[in-house]
């Protein structure tokens, strides 16, 4: 089956790249200067010693040892549960971001005035630093009272994920919705199709190839937003928190922070893997085109 074969191909290319990266890391560690390369007082080459660049094997064996001395939890369990926690927040953020992004794109595709008015603000919104926004969202959320609904702390982190996710989705979807061939649009209007019919029977299906890369960006944006929000709002339980905690131990236990960093990377990959799966599923019956 073509579908399965494509997944197998992509997976094997991914693994091959991984092996190459590990090779480059170890090669540099073996041959690079222990104290880094200094040219005119600036360190341009990183240190190749064990503190700065632990062996890949050390990083992975670290997963099997306890998080802290005397703890009965091995580190893989902690990283895994942290990643799972952040994954759920990212999914909420991604879902909200996609909903808002697609909704805005539909509005902008429908009304030119909305597009002209809104698009500059959307672009501007992405220049606001996330770190500045995080405490604001937390305090707004805390003040929010809708009936018996109480704003949970984790929701602030998801909202920041939403904030990074919605933008690429909105822009990519807008581009997709407005890229239907003119002849196809003419055909739909020759059938006196309503705007809504045209949207669902033509514009959305034709937009899929544009939406997929946008959704990938949105998915990783959601992860970044959540991780940064965890760090800057001090939310416990997620991978972002683990990264900042483990980084403090970098001198004594250099491999430890990498375990959390890989956890975050795996999280991002899982999210964009979801999008790839969705892509392969939706495009399974279409002519093969260059996919991103």
């Amino acid at each position: 089956m073509k579908f399965v074969r494509r997944i197998a191909y992509r997976t094997s290319m991914f693994l091959l790249t991984l092996v190459l990266l590990v090779g480059i890391w170890e090669l540099y560690k073996a041959t690079g200067p222990q104290d880094g390369g200094i040219i005119f007082g600036a360190r341009v080459l990183p240190r190749a010693n064990d503190t700065a660049m632990p062996h890949v094997s050390t990083m992975f064996s670290r997963y099997g040892r306890p998080e802290v001395r005397g703890s009965d939890k091995e580190i893989w369990q902690v990283v895994l549960s942290g990643a799972w926690f952040s994954l759920r927040l990212s999914l909420v953020g991604f879902f909200l971001g996609t909903t808002i992004g697609v909704g805005l794109a539909v509005l902008m595709a429908r009304f030119n005035t909305v597009r002209r008015g809104l698009l500059p603000y959307l672009v501007m919104s992405q220049t606001v630093p996330l770190i500045a926004l995080a405490p604001l969202v937390v305090s707004w959320g805390g003040k929010l009272e809708i009936g018996s609904f109480v704003w949970p702390r984790w929701l602030s982190a998801s909202i920041l994920g939403t904030f990074l996710a919605f933008f690429p989705v909105a822009v990519g979807t807008l581009r997709g919705l407005t890229s239907s061939p003119a002849a196809a649009v003419e055909l739909m209007s020759s059938y006196a199709a309503s705007w809504r019919q045209t949207l669902f029977k033509l514009r959305f299906p034709a937009a899929v190839p544009f939406m997929v890369p946008a959704l990938k960006l949105g998915a990783s944006g959601a992860v970044v937003g959540v991780v940064v929000a965890e760090i800057s709002t001090g939310l416990k339980g997620g991978i972002g928190r683990l990264i900042i905690e483990y980084a403090r131990e970098a001198t004594g236990d250099p491999a430890k922070v990498f375990t959390a960093v890989f956890g975050a990377a795996a999280l991002g990959l899982t999210m964009s893997g979801l999008v790839v799966f969705f892509d392969l599923f939706l495009m399974r019956n279409r002519p093969r085109e260059t996919s991103t």
Partner: protein
């Protein structure tokens, strides 16, 4: 054709179309066009690029509004005819939706009309039979050849059994052999379904072979130079292509295109017309 009892299939009265009126890029696409088409008639619009033949087709389809004049289809305004899906349309690019199977493509206009699933499937099967693609219903458009795709597009255009078929150079992208085959098929289909056709083309032999009347147009502003009746009988076959009448009609269309009646357009009129 001179029968006045029936309402005409298409009636264009004093239609003009000016794009970007009053601006620097004003284009007089059509000027005072009058054309009446009887039910069951096959009429071709021929002329060089920029003569407004596609514009005229789009006015009939109500995809464009005339700047002046009136257009009626089946005795209704063209706007009402569009809403009632009184016509089907086919373009140079088959324009099938990649994500739909051949059957689902044919069902599209029926879906938009709100037909139920079962009725749609029955009609799609009928249409596939009509265009001789019975075995291809579950395939996807990109798995089909260009000629087959164009047959699907015709099936789609006729799915709702509209009395009128509007075609904009539908065979322009096909190779010559396929093209001649498709012309024969189109005549057969139109006879079986007694559909009126307005057909835009660049090719003189194609226009003559298919039509009861050939409308010859001149560019800038687009006007009707001459309407040439083609007397080749109602039954046409491959033999028709070798008949004397066929060549005589081709010659009259060619002369009309060269503008024997309007010398000043001669040089521009030839350009863009395929003389094959």
């Amino acid at each position: 054709m001179s029968a006045v009892a029936n309402t005409s299939a298409v009636e264009v009265i004093g239609a003009s179309k000016i794009f970007n009126e009053g601006t620097a890029n004003q284009v007089d696409a059509l000027l005072d066009v009058n054309l009446t088409i009887a039910p069951g008639e096959f009429v071709s619009l021929i002329g060089p690029s920029g003569c407004g033949k596609s514009t005229l087709l789009r006015l009939i389809a109500n995809l464009l509004e005339p700047t002046q004049g009136e257009i009626s289809v089946n005795g209704k305004t063209s706007a009402q005819a569009r809403l009632d899906q009184d016509y089907g349309m086919a373009f140079q690019q088959a324009g099938l939706f990649d994500w739909r199977t051949v059957s689902k493509n044919i069902e599209l206009p029926l879906e938009l009309k709100g037909w139920d699933k079962k009725k749609r499937a029955v009609r799609a099967a009928e249409m596939l039979e009509l265009v001789k693609l019975q075995d291809f219903g579950n395939m996807f458009p990109w798995q089909l050849s260009g000629g087959m795709q164009q047959r699907v597009a015709i099936a789609r255009a006729l799915a709702a059994h509209p009395p009128l078929l509007l075609m904009d150079e539908p065979f322009g992208a096909l190779d010559e052999m396929t093209r001649e085959y498709m012309q024969g098929e189109l005549l057969r289909i139109c006879e079986e379904t007694s559909t009126t056709v307005v057909f835009v083309t660049h090719s003189i032999p194609e226009a003559v072979y298919l039509s009861n009347r050939v409308v010859v147009m001149s560019p800038r502003p687009g006007r009707i130079l001459e309407i040439i009746p083609v007397n080749l009988g109602s039954k046409r076959s491959e033999l028709t292509r070798a008949a004397d009448g066929f060549f005589r009609s081709i010659t009259s269309v060619r002369e009309a295109l060269r503008g024997t009646h309007a010398d000043h357009v001669a040089s521009t009129a030839i350009r863009g017309v395929e003389d094959r």
